[in-house]
């Protein structure tokens, strides 16, 4: 990761709390909610730092998210934790879009205790692309990344012990991919390990 | 032959001392039988009492109020498949429960249920009891080792460490009681179980009240150590269910497991017997020197009968409260029958010759039963100690207290005599 981009970062001056509308029960909601551009000090700072790396920063139904370039990971996450106080990684998950060229959305849901604010960082990656692990940033990412690997087959580089977590070792296929059928299973594994023809 | 049998009746010692093998054998059989019945009764009572402490009913299905449950359990255990782990050492695996059960029963040779109601009396009685009962740790260790499995191994190691440590505190408490027996005119103490009770009789006090509160403290040390010694809650670490599944007997099932079970309960009775003998005046009735005279003797001699009649009345009351549905007819009749048996025993105990002979045994049993209730109560109340805390209690609390009590007792003994 390029280290020099970090150097000119101005220290964040006063987290812009007011700029982030976050009440879940917003008083009046528009009839058809659409993502609105999310403008806040945080976004401005990040945009200044990373330029077009921050592809999109929006608010949808009062929830803020940004779509960033996958090359910014894990540096951006590190910045978010260290400088923007997003010290709690709520969840790491993925969504599979088989029609797209970059098949996977990989999503970090972050929360800041100091700001009482939740954001989502989203990247898009292609099948087989390796993502740097964020275990060194948030230890909680360990199991969460293992689950993403287990369910989607997204590999994380630098993960201390990347192996299946919910499915048994040696299982073939990643169930939460869209091309994995709902009653599909690894028949071979079932036959060898459970001694039955099929688990159905 | 007949002479040999009847000749003992004239002597006023235990059959062992009189050298009468026939009566010794009869006594052994009686004790064995009584102990088995006691373990069965204890099993039922523990489940019922614990259940009522925990707002539930306990066994209710097999027989009225689950009275036949222990028998059903025993049957089930006997006909269960006999499982031995493939990796276990078969010979040692078999020997282990035998060691435990034999040691648990052997100690009863010297337990004095009355002045003559013991198989024999040894001049090293207490030492014999402590020595033999501590042999059971050997059985537990071999059981854990022979299972060739991790949980039993850890359980066995815990058990041996625990029993060895608590034996020291126990021993110190026992010594202070033995020291108290020497506080007489000629200054000779005794280790004989019967002798200890007689010493309390002679000194006109139970040793628990001797040099108050010294005797009480020594008794307390013993009472704690004996719970640890028998691996019961809150010191049940060797068989801590939530940690080690079942500790040293994890791999045991069926008949062999039932031997461990039998041994555990008879060991509880055995250590309680020591406590009763040493501190609670053994077979003596309450206040033998304060409430003296013919009348009081009569009143106290009625207790056994009254107890059984009361039990019979409770049973009859339960019979009335049984559901009136025809499904419960057999059970109701059974319960009534059980009550009738209890009542008959009670009436039998009012008959003067029986009454006089049964008294000692009755008071001894009642005191032991008190301890049994305590065991159950502990189990219902306390969480389990952790291993290091258990060791801490043994070595840092009980041992110094036991030692202190021993020294102070010695000093007081010298000063006061």
């Amino acid at each position: 990761m390029p280290e020099e981009t970090k150097a000119p970062t101005p220290p964040p001056s006063g987290p812009p709390k007011a700029a982030a509308p976050h009440a879940p029960a917003a008083p009046a909601k528009p009839a058809g909610p659409t993502p609105e551009p999310w403008s806040s000090g945080l976004v401005t700072t990040l945009k200044r730092q990373y330029g077009s790396g921050i592809r999109e920063a929006s608010t949808y139904l009062g929830q803020n998210y940004m779509v960033v370039d996958s090359s910014l990971i894990p540096e951006l996450l590190q910045v978010l934790r260290d400088q923007e106080q997003f010290d709690y990684c709520v969840d790491i998950t993925a969504v599979h879009y088989p029609q797209r060229e970059k098949q996977f959305d990989l999503i970090w849901i972050l929360y800041s205790f100091a700001r009482n604010q939740r954001i989502r960082v989203k990247i898009m990656i292609a099948d087989g692309e390796v993502v740097p692990s964020s275990v060194s940033i948030w230890p909680t990412a360990n199991w969460l990344e293992r689950e993403v690997y287990d369910m989607f087959g997204i590999r994380f580089e630098g993960h201390p012990d990347l192996k299946r977590i919910l499915l048994p070792e040696g299982w073939k296929g990643h169930p939460l991919r869209k091309d994995y059928g709902i009653i599909q299973q690894d028949n071979e594994w079932v036959q060898i390990n459970l001694g039955i023809e099929s688990g159905q | 032959m007949l002479d040999y049998i009847t000749s003992y009746l004239k002597s006023d010692t235990t059959p062992g001392q009189a050298g009468n093998f026939f009566w010794a054998f009869v006594y052994i059989l009686l004790i064995f039988l009584g102990l088995s019945v006691a373990v069965i009764a204890m099993n039922w009572l523990e489940r019922k009492i614990l259940a009522h402490m925990q707002v539930r009913l306990g066994p209710m299905r097999v027989g009225p109020h689950g009275l036949l449950q222990p028998i059903a359990d025993a049957l089930k255990l006997l006909i269960k498949e006999d499982i031995m782990p493939a990796e276990a050492d078969p010979v040692v695996f078999w020997i282990a429960p035998l060691i435990v059960v034999i040691t648990a029963f052997t100690v009863f040779i010297v337990v004095p249920f009355g002045p003559t109601h013991a198989v024999t009396d040894m001049n090293i009685g207490v030492l014999f009891m402590l020595g033999v009962s501590s042999l059971s740790v050997l059985g537990i260790v071999t059981a854990g080792w022979a299972s060739n499995s991790h949980y039993p191994l850890i359980g066995a190691l815990r058990s041996s460490a625990q029993m060895v440590s608590y034996e020291i505190a126990m021993g110190l408490a026992v010594i202070s009681a033995v020291l108290m027996t020497s506080l007489n005119t000629d200054g000779t103490g005794t280790l004989s179980m019967i002798g200890i009770v007689q010493a309390q009789q002679a000194q006109q006090t139970w040793f628990i009240f001797k040099f108050f509160p010294l005797g009480l403290i020594a008794f307390f040390v013993f009472a704690v150590a004996m719970v640890a010694e028998t691996n019961r809650a809150p010191f049940d670490l060797p068989e801590a269910e939530s940690e080690l599944t079942a500790g040293f007997h994890t791999e045991y099932s069926g008949f062999r497991w039932s031997l461990f079970f039998l041994a555990e309960y008879s060991a509880m009775i055995a250590v309680s017997s020591i406590a009763v003998t040493l501190w609670l005046g053994g077979w003596m009735r309450p206040f033998p020197h304060w409430l003296t005279g013919e009348t009081w003797d009569l009143v106290f001699s009625l207790f056994p009968g009254v107890t059984f009649v009361l039990l019979a009345l409770i049973t009859f009351y339960s019979t009335i409260r049984m559901p009136k549905h025809p499904y419960f007819r057999v059970q109701t009749i059974g319960l009534a029958g059980f009550g009738a048996v209890l009542g008959l025993i009670g009436l039998l105990l009012f008959v003067p010759p029986v009454r006089d002979r049964i008294q000692d045994i009755y008071w001894f049993a009642v005191k032991v039963a008190g301890f049994m209730y305590l065991y159950i109560w502990y189990r219902g109340t306390f969480p389990r100690y952790r291993f290091d805390q258990l060791m801490k209690v043994g070595w840092k609390v009980l041992l110094p207290i036991g030692l202190g009590v021993l020294i102070v007792t010695g000093i007081l003994g010298v000063v006061l005599s």
Binding site: P24, E169, I182 | E241, Q389
Partner: protein, 381 residues
Amino acid sequence: MTERSSHLELEQADKTYLDSNELIINMGPQHPATHGVLRVILKLDGEKVLGTECVIGYLHRGVEKIAENRTYTMFNPYVDRMDYVAAVSNGLGYCEAVEKLLNVEAPSRAKYIRVILTELNRLASHMLWLGTHALDIGAITPLFYTFRDREEILKIFEKYCGARLTTHAFRIGGCQYETYDGFEEDVTKFLKFVTPKIDEYEQLLTTNRIWVERTRGVGVISAADCKALGVTGPVLRASGVKWDLRKAQPYAAYSDFDFEIPTGQSGDTYDRYLVRMQEMRQSLRIIEQAVGKIPDGPIMAKVPKVMKPPVGEVYHSIEAPKGELGYFIVSDGSTQPYRVRVRPPSFVNLQALDQMVRGQLVADVIAVIGTLDIVLGEVDR
């Protein structure tokens, strides 16, 4: 068998049995104290724990995959099967997440009913935790007391919606059932009934020497570690962080009620015990406030029969009894969710086990598993 490899087992593989003082033992999946089918591989030096590894997934049912093949409404009962001791909370989280996606809001009467039932469920969950936790530490009696009192809660659930455990009490947009006649009296009666019972539990445990010795200083986790490990709920609060989603980002009707967030200082098992006991009392307080003033009005918002939320994604989380329970739902505009991700508190909290027990004794592993209050249905989903 292709045995699952554990790094602990692999480490051990080149050592023979007699070489080392270290012992690898396997706790679970069938073990009385692992609260289900959790398998913990322990590396021991005598009684001391050198390392642990959790093997999970024995109860994996693919809830997230099922969601993608069901409509929004059809998936609703499935969430009850995750944390089956706090099914109402699960349902609340899911319903609110979908409502947010649909951009509707439940009517305030429904919100009040939701709060009452959810708090009752929190009580039930904490009672079950207390009973099993105490049982693990060797006190067998509290289990029966807590089950006796939990029964009263389950009776209220049963009267309300017919189910006791997996209640499926709420619907997207509100509640399906109006409160039954006498609901408020029942709840009030329950409040009166249960308050002395909680004192009774405390009497048995709070000042019990053995209990204090077994829990104080055991499984300590600092606030910083909690945040780093994503640990939430009572565990986080016992470490001194005053954070509760009911206050931080109020949902349902929680902003209307006056309650406190109990916190601890030392982050040990005893503090977690105290925090949960306090939470039970706070829940009673919330219920007491709510039950008196359930507003009149409809119980369902206007939601279409066939739900087709607009394209978009939403993350909504609630304070479940065990911590932050989040639902991340992606809609592609069809009747079925494109992706439902459940952020289970038990799963994330369980990750802290290794750090909490390293260097402690075997008996503490049991205490810590108990104090983390995990439900394997939720860990494995």
